[in-house]
């Protein structure tokens, strides 16, 4: 009979639960059948049970005499601190700190933006300096009849020739 019963991993998984009374009726009956047919299974279960008994040797130290009083005293102390953390005063203080923080951030951001703008953006003086050459020649340009006329003069040679011819005729 014993040779017919091969122990599977599932059987072995169930042995501990069988010892603990945690299997349902069907599985319990199945394991009992396996145990009645296999010396190996019986030996395995016996070893599991005896090993578990060895755990009784583990030390079980108890709490010291003043443990409960000490614990309760610390709990009350921490609780009173927690009470302050939940008090309206603490909440008001927390709100004030939060608003101050936001104001500081806003102020810093404004100051930074102002500095960057001042350093990077062109001011009126810079624009005037860029146009300094034009400003210096402003009277000459005005007398010539405008900047458009001077541009045409630069581009069209025939215009100068015509002007020279007109000037010669006028002199004669």
């Amino acid at each position: 009979m014993e040779k017919l019963t091969r122990l599977t991993a599932e059987h072995r998984d169930n042995f501990a639960a069988y010892l603990d009374g945690e299997l349902d009726d069907t599985l319990t009956r199945h394991i009992e059948t396996v145990l009645s047919q296999s010396n190996v299974a019986r030996n395995d279960v016996e070893m599991l049970a005896k090993t578990y008994e060895l755990l009784d040797l583990l030390p079980r130290p108890k709490a010291s005499g003043e443990f409960s009083e000490k614990t309760l005293a610390i709990a009350r102390l921490k609780d009173s601190r927690t009470d302050f953390l939940q008090s309206p005063t603490y909440r008001r203080l927390q709100r004030a700190v939060r608003w101050t923080g936001w104001a500081a951030i806003l102020f810093s951001a404004s100051a930074l933006s102002y500095s960057v703008a001042r350093y990077r953006a062109p001011v009126e003086d810079d624009l005037l300096l860029d146009d300094l050459n034009v400003i210096r020649q402003y009277d000459a340009y005005k007398e010539a009849g405008g900047i458009e006329f001077l541009n045409r003069l630069g581009l069209e040679n025939s215009l100068i020739e015509n002007m020279n011819a007109e000037s010669s005729r006028a002199n004669q």
Partner: protein
């Protein structure tokens, strides 16, 4: 616990008295140090006290307590690893005699064989327990010493009863392998 929730400190004190020894015993076997265990047990009770107003009576108080204890023990181990603290557990200290036993041995010139054997076996059992992972160790301790069902252990460790069954099966198999030379 419901009375403690309503602010009855005497009720909380009763809870501490009722569970302190069980918790210290459990945690000392979780971390392998009775001194540290008392500190951790205190931490567990302080957490319970802080969270008492939010307690819902839909689970056993002990399940909640051991769930908190498991978290505290795991966190303590993790922070110890982070700090790279090296602390020898009694199991790791091998079969070195305790000072009191040493005095007895010196006086009589003979270590009582039975005491030595028991101490050695106790060390081996502690070593075997130390070889389990944290969940396995906690599940074994809750089952063995607290007599908790798989369902209650599952609730404390946030696992299904089926997962607890596999966990305990593997744990007991590991213990069997580690201790088979000592089983008679």
């Amino acid at each position: 616990m419901l009375r403690a929730k309503e602010g009855d400190d005497a009720a909380f004190s009763d809870l501490v008295l009722r569970y302190q020894d069980r918790l210290v015993g459990l945690l000392s076997n979780m971390i392998g140090s009775p001194d540290g265990a008392e500190d951790l047990a205190q931490d567990v009770f302080l957490r319970i006290y802080r969270a008492r107003h939010g307690y819902e009576a839909n689970a056993k108080f002990s399940t909640w307590l051991f769930s908190v204890a498991h978290n505290v023990a795991c966190n303590s181990k993790r922070s110890k690893v982070r700090r790279r603290e090296v602390q020898l557990t009694p199991a790791e200290s091998g079969s070195m005699p305790l000072p009191q036993q040493q005095i007895v041995a010196d006086k009589s010139g003979l270590m009582p064989t039975r005491l030595f054997q028991k101490k050695e076996l106790q060390d081996r059992v502690q070593q075997a327990m130390g070889s389990l992972n944290e969940r396995q160790r906690m599940a074994v301790l809750l089952h063995k010493f607290e007599g908790m069902s798989y369902a209650d252990i599952g609730a404390a460790l946030d696992m299904s009863p089926q997962a607890v069954k596999s966990l305990l099966s593997r744990a007991r198999d590991n213990l069997r392998l580690a201790l088979e030379g000592y089983v008679r």
